[in-house]
Point group: D2
Chain length 352, copies 4
């Protein structure tokens, strides 16, 4: 890609857990620089450093400290907006930005399922971006548009499903998650609820995981995206882990396969971000481990800077065809990094 001025990024929900990750990931980015920060009304007009309760184990980048925080409505001084707003606020705010001419790259759930909005994982379905002109026309957007990335639990799962679907066809998927507390934001999960404990409920999570993978692995027609027809069942649990969603998965495939073939198809998976060498693309989107007790959140969540899905314990299942365990970093690949990789893909495709 030819050298050109960096795109100016505005971050909606900048003070949140994911917003902070986006800021951290953009601290030295070749394509982007952060020029605008927006958050809830009570932060408006103040220095970012004064309103953000920074919770990452890295220092807040010096260049954002003095940025004045704006409300989450247009205009903002930027070329593109990355949003990680709570879904109740996102619907209105993100729509307003798109209508006002801003490309909106959203980590929120509000626009993931409409048929005219692409739900994109760059390795899997970059072609779904082809719906954008139709979306603009249908919604009456001029230059603005909406692109979304999946739920943090969906993304690790669908990353492992994509090569299986391509090679063997998917019939059904059972997924039981053990999710990190950072997925609930800050303050999020009360410590009294999670120390020496597991919470077998995460609001809205199972519903999202049960429909997003089919859309991502679906087809982009001219006027709508059609979900793939396999079934997903999800049971979602919260465990006392800082970062990294672990998932126990069983899959039923259409074609016969061996454990070795499944492992090989996963380990060799490559997509457009790898081909284009996008800055945030992991060299290996899926890492297959063969130790009997991997993957683990603490040891594997940061693989490929938190952008890889690590899969292990692949074996025959007694009911479905195969079972395995995977982990994906929920605030990196599952949120901030997902949005950023989408942004990089949009640049590479000339859409930003």
């Amino acid at each position: 890609m030819k050298k050109q001025a960096k795109r100016r990024v505005g971050i909606l929900g900048a003070t949140g857990t994911v917003g902070q990750r986006v800021i951290h990931l953009l601290r030295n980015h070749p394509y982007f620089e952060v020029t605008a920060l927006a958050a809830s009304d009570r932060s408006e007009g103040k220095r970012f450093a004064d309103v953000c309760n920074w919770k990452l184990p890295f220092e807040m980048p010096a260049k954002v400290k003095n940025i004045k925080v704006f409300a989450c409505k247009p205009p903002l001084d930027c070329d593109v907006v990355i949003s990680s707003l709570p879904s109740d606020i996102a619907l209105e705010a993100e729509g307003a930005f798109a209508a006002a001419g801003y490309p909106v790259i959203s980590n929120s759930s509000s626009y993931r399922m409409p048929e005219d909005v692409p739900l994109v994982v760059p390795e899997i379905n970059p072609d779904h971006l082809d719906i954008i002109p139709y979306q603009q026309k249908k919604r009456g957007y001029d230059k603005g548009y909406l692109v979304t990335n999946p739920n943090c639990t969906t993304i690790g799962l669908v990353m492992a499903l994509a090569p299986l679907q391509a090679a063997f066809g998917l019939e059904a998927v059972m997924m039981t998650s053990m999710q990190a507390i950072s997925g609930a934001g800050y303050p999020g999960v009360a410590s009294m609820d999670i120390i020496d404990n597991v919470i077998p409920h995460i609001g809205g999570e199972e519903e999202k995981v049960e429909c997003e993978p089919q859309k991502i692995l679906g087809k982009c027609l001219r006027t709508k995206i059609v979900s793939a027809p396999f079934l997903v069942s999800a049971q979602c649990n919260r465990v006392p882990v800082q970062d990294g969603h672990l998932e126990s998965v069983r899959v039923k495939l259409k074609k016969k396969a061996t454990v070795e073939q499944v492992a090989e198809v996963l380990a060799n998976y490559q997509g457009l971000p790898q081909e284009l060498k996008l800055p945030s693309a992991p060299a290996h989107p899926i890492i297959v481990r063969t130790e009997k007790d991997r993957p683990q959140p603490r040891l594997d969540r940061d693989a490929e800077n938190g952008m890889a899905t690590v899969v292990g314990r692949i074996s025959k299942d007694t009911i479905f065809d195969f079972k395995f365990t995977l982990i994906s970093h929920n605030t990196v690949r599952g949120a901030a990094g997902a949005a950023l990789l989408n942004a990089e893909l949009l640049v590479a495709k000339g859409l930003l």
Copy 2:
């Protein structure tokens, strides 16, 4: 039951996590008193209080402190033996005690699957004890015999499956566990492996859970116990929780049912221990909770003194028929309490 002298109990593996629980549960028992303690060779000949690294949040009962520890081989000064030996040692030791005339109530895995050894959950299959005379004959035991209880992960699961099988028939069961560290004994799981982490592997556990429920829910014929024909798939994980195994379960049934029917059948479940009012029997072997975020290990593991299985989140599954979450206290109902309830049942049946 008429008043009579207490049975004298010998505990094999007395210094272990489960052995300690057995001692605690027997501290004031109407049927039993602890008269003999046996453990590994290095403890032999010493006072129990001097060799046992007591890890329960209760005081060691005064009356066991001065008991001299013996090796795990007959004779022991007792009428019955409760064993929670590691499986590698249990095979030989338990067999030797049975051959020497002792009833052996075992929490170990060694003798769970032979067709002539009953694997008993008193609420579910007390009739499997009818195999004992055949077992004695086949193995050449005189007054001794072997009775086992299931793996700590099996028991919570099978407790919920039993009423479903009876009411609706079972076709298939998918279970993903989040298991407590106490299940691995002491020192067991290294803290570096589990703080801020989950381990997706527990040696031998999935194999046990995939065959034990079918035997427990099977039929006792004259010369063998025949497993029920439904399928079980297990994925077992270790989480940073002290006590209580949480399980995400999906079931496929033979007959149609509603969520309400499933909840009702579970909540109303009663068995022989309840009818006989055995001392350790929970008034309600299954407690159904309707809050959206229950059961939880910290809040529900001690229900009915740790002897109940608590079930919640019963709902329709997208692939199988129903999904739900359950918890069972792994060292109480899942081990020490299971053995003790078996012992009480044997007394009630006149076998002790």
Copy 3:
């Protein structure tokens, strides 16, 4: 004490962590029954079971479930009020109840330090209740009055200091705490702040611990309570523990003593609650353990139903005279149980 009708208790802050403990401790109390529950305005008028997010690992007592919640202002249908309100609200609310004729037994910090309000630990300074008539006169209360119990970190410390002061005299005390999350209430500490972490700050805690022990160990004159003159230094930390405040303590004494003498004086400590056999009084207010790695929160917090202070690791200090470690259950002896023991003492003294 002669049999008489139970005192009717109103609980201010009934939905909070400490309020729940009070309700649990009063579920079967010989002197008291809960007749009124008060909490923040948004709970007003609703059933307790509908507004209380019950977080104890015991069931909510059936008899409080249907009690209607009132606002925290008089009148309430009760003879005495036990308050565990946040300190900002407590000042006005507790004063209003005392002025309206209710004895107020407070776990809040608002009235702990005024010279006319007794700060009572029944084993240590029951005579401080003698200030009540003066307090009533000075504040213009008729039958109402205020009695407080100490901060949850103070109480374990002062329990160990009292016998040392009596036997050897106290010059200075250095205390570093490792405090449980339940001390911050619910939701309290965010899990992202405490899993795999320690927070070296608890708002206002060090200041309280640095002045309360001297008042408790001080003298009650006719018109004021005068603090004892020793110095206390406190550093307070929050650790990932559900219940139980652990404290590393060094003391400088006025007289010489040996480790054995210190241990003996602590282990033999008895007070008026033990003499009167008050229902909540621990048989041994201080338990001295000699194992090298005790006390520990998980193993020792529940000693004597959470009402004992467990002390261990007593040894010579290189700078002060002695160092030791203690634990006290922060929501039992440190809050709900402290208020309840005060209430029992007031009954025994004819003040209720």
Copy 4:
């Protein structure tokens, strides 16, 4: 320093927690390359990758995977030895290497206190290396010698004490630690002992912390190192934290000072490693934070790649002069990084 061949390093205790950190820190080092690995006898003769239970959340460096593991005795194919052996083995093994002509940089406790062995923190007492010629003469070593670094709890403490001693003089230091589990090695602390718990005992730790700081801050005479005369009192606790030792500290100084002066003296501290720009030297060996709730293990342990000591909560103490909280990464600055910085200093001084 002029470009020259890299020194070849042998690592004693290579499979341990600290050994793994040393290997990780040396993966791309400008001065050193790992050429030999030694561990306990049972690893002897095997590939490192086959015997090492790698526990770091980074991949094992490819170049060590195939190195054959030797026993911990000379000869080894290397120019210098970095040892992190258990102290019981270290005494003989390290002495044997020094006698055989190898410079030994030791993280073990065996040789820290002898008067002729320097206990070095490069920022504080690099001049203590001047004792080496005398040590060689006294012990009959030819080219070999022994250099040690302090205990992991000592080093964070002494880093903060050094500038205070220089500016104000030290009289007494009270330190209470909350130490990470990685300090106990692997498997180390059993998870049953530390989840929802604190252990108030770490074998030998308090004794080390009570004498090492005085030696480090002492004077190097011609034939011995003489400890500084201030007193240290230590109480050491283990908390459920993966990495990073947090310490609550009080200091009594010889001269008057203000909080601002203390903060300034700490924040401005610089030493020889900073002047020489040694590869592992932190730009700021001490970072002073002013937020009321910092430092925290999770957020501050990795400051300056784990080589900085982070100090916060500096305030007046009620008994001593000042109190503050500090954190230091126990396996980086407290062990592997300490040894490595000593090695770099030895290169810079021409001793390697």
